[in-house]
């Protein structure tokens, strides 16, 4: 293809996105679009899968049967999200094995929030309420993103994430209205998860790369700082409603902006965790790589069996 032709294809491509048309797997797309989408979508899929670990940590110790069933179902939903996101990413010409390989070698990232430990039952509330809450803020705009398979996966995922968020809030509410010990447990969880949840919405706009291109492709519709403000404005009244205190002495309603002002985020901590040195980074990767390596003989056996079965069928047909 001549450069002229490519430029014309790119122009048509940009126009289609501007008209809100969806890009489908068989359509022509610029290489950069493909690569950027593989990166973002696989990172999202990995986050779902690694995100199963901190919550999976409490399945065996859930305090009641009802809570155990709800938690199992929630973690299973996350596995389902991982599954459709991996499938959606595969439409861009990368295999699930390659994506796993990138995760296991540290080439691909996942959401840093999952590198914090879940050390009490209240963390199941805080994670659902805040982490799924922040995820929704990030993801709702993606329901209209330009790449068809991603947009469709997000519609399904977002519905379930809102359910998770409500369920997490309900766990917190129950604790906050419970015994003094339960209330302390809830407050402690909020203290530990609040700042990492704010960080989840990404570095400040001044330090964020890729944003302009992502806006054009509708991979991003609002800046990180705007999303963060939206999250804070939405969450502070919820905390007030159940009598918990946001651990930020600088948090104050700003009448003029009709928004909350908030304190300084510790970006050193953010970058430390992103670079692999959070409290649980090594542990999470060990769990993922361990499950994958220990499962190799099972996957090999399933493949060998399928091949043998196929052969037997062919022999019978002859």
């Amino acid at each position: 293809m001549s450069e002229e032709q490519i430029r014309s294809l790119e122009r048509q491509f940009d126009e289609r996105i501007a008209r809100d048309e969806k890009i489908e797997p068989k359509d022509w797309m610029p290489e950069k679009y493909r690569k950027t989408h593989i990166r973002q979508m696989s990172q999202h899929a990995h986050s779902e899968i690694v995100g199963m670990l901190p919550e999976g940590n409490w399945i065996s110790r859930a305090p009641s049967l009802r809570r155990k069933v709800a938690l199992l179902a929630k973690v299973q939903d996350e596995a389902g999200h991982g599954l459709y996101l991996y499938s959606a990413t595969e439409t861009l010409g990368i295999s699930r094995e390659e994506m796993y390989e990138q995760l296991h070698t540290g080439k691909a990232k996942y959401s840093s929030i999952f590198n914090y430990p879940t050390i009490s039952w209240a963390d199941m509330g805080a994670v659902g309420w805040l982490v799924d809450g922040a995820a929704i803020i990030n993801q709702v705009p993606l329901c209209n993103t330009s790449y068809g398979p991603y947009a469709r996966a997000m519609i399904r995922v977002c519905k379930e994430e809102s359910f998770h968020q409500r369920q997490g809030f309900e766990i917190m509410m129950k604790l906050a209205n419970g015994s003094p010990e339960q209330k302390d447990m809830a407050q402690d969880a909020l203290n530990r998860w609040w700042w990492p949840s704010l960080m989840m919405l990404g570095p400040t706009d001044a330090e964020s790369i890729h944003t302009e291109q992502s806006m054009k492709w509708k991979l991003k519709r609002k800046s990180n700082d705007d999303l963060r403000q939206q999250f804070i404005d939405q969450t502070v009244p919820q905390a007030e409603l159940i009598g918990l205190t946001i651990p930020d002495p600088d948090l104050k309603w700003n009448e003029e902006r009709q928004s909350y002002d908030f304190g300084e985020i510790n970006w050193d901590e953010f970058w430390q965790v992103v670079k692999g040195h959070g409290p649980m980074n090594k542990h999470r990767m060990k769990a993922r790589v361990g499950a994958w390596e220990e499962g190799a003989w099972v996957r090999d056996a399933a493949m060998a069996h399928a091949e043998k079965k196929q052969e037997r069928k062919q022999k019978e047909a002859v």
């Binding site: 199963m52 361990g290 099972v298």
Partner: protein
């Protein structure tokens, strides 16, 4: 308690689902593939759903203010009545699936009989469970065939698991006092009558999986009387942790 036998009988059924559900739940997030992870979690979810129905019924019969959670989480080790088979650990995927398979074949046959119970609550629960457990049984027996017939490594692992777990199969067909009383009253299932068909079906799947049927005639028992393997205590330590550490609270 007026209905002590019925109460014990329900616990005998439900504890199997409770303990096996707990074991399957341990794997969530750690399966050999996403698909098997989801399937194992599903089995765990089904089993806990069944447990809730049984224990809600048992709580009603006990009528002393205890809830499903009290019954599930606040008994002493000796008061759990599950068979030894279901408390065996997730040594590897072959053990997990072997345990599941050896239990599912029994569980399905048992539920099909329980559907005929003259106790309407029990037969209604059995009706609901039969669908779920038929799926479990299909899933686990398919995997036995896959792993038995797969590679040399998977065959060896699957054979080891079956050999080790075999010793726990006979207990499934032992009758407790509560069993006998309930059979007499027409509420309960006579498990001794399920034994022959059980081994016929197990052997058929093992053969199809190109595995050897264990010949050992030495069996372990005790679970139904509350005498468990060393594994159960640790499982209960996790299951009961919150209820023990924070007594009398709502969650």
């Amino acid at each position: 308690m007026k209905n002590q036998n019925l109460y014990n009988y329900i616990l005998g059924i439900a504890d199997n689902s409770l303990i096996l559900g707990q074991r399957m739940g341990e794997l969530c997030g750690h399966g050999p593939s996403l698909e098997t992870d989801i399937a194992c979690t599903n089995i765990s979810l089904d089993l806990f759903g069944q447990v809730r129905s049984y224990f809600q019924y048992a709580a009603k019969i006990a009528g002393d203010g205890r809830t499903e959670d009290d019954i599930a989480m606040l008994r002493k080790e000796r008061d759990y009545k599950n068979v030894l088979l279901v408390e065996q650990p997730n040594t590897n995927f072959a053990y997990t699936l072997g345990r599941q398979f050896l239990f599912d074949v029994y569980h399905l046959a048992f539920l099909k009989e329980l559907q005929k119970s003259t106790d309407l609550t029990l037969s209604a629960i059995a009706n609901k469970c039969v669908k779920e457990v038929s799926y479990h049984e299909r899933f686990s027996s398919d995997w036995i065939k896959r792993l038995g017939d797969g590679t040399a490594e998977s065959k060896a692992k699957m054979q080891d698991a079956i050999n080790d777990l075999w010793t726990y199969t006979d207990e499934l067909f032992h009758q407790t006092e509560a069993d006998k009383a309930m059979v007499e009253e027409g509420f309960g299932v006579d498990v001794t009558r399920l034994k022959e068909a059980y081994y016929t079906e197990i052997n058929q799947v093992l053969e199809e999986a190109t595995l050897t049927i264990p010949e050992s005639k030495y069996f372990q028992k005790g679970g139904k009387e509350g005498i468990h393997t060393e594994h159960l205590g640790y499982l209960l330590a996790e299951l009961q942790y919150m209820q023990r550490a924070y007594p009398n609270m709502e969650w």
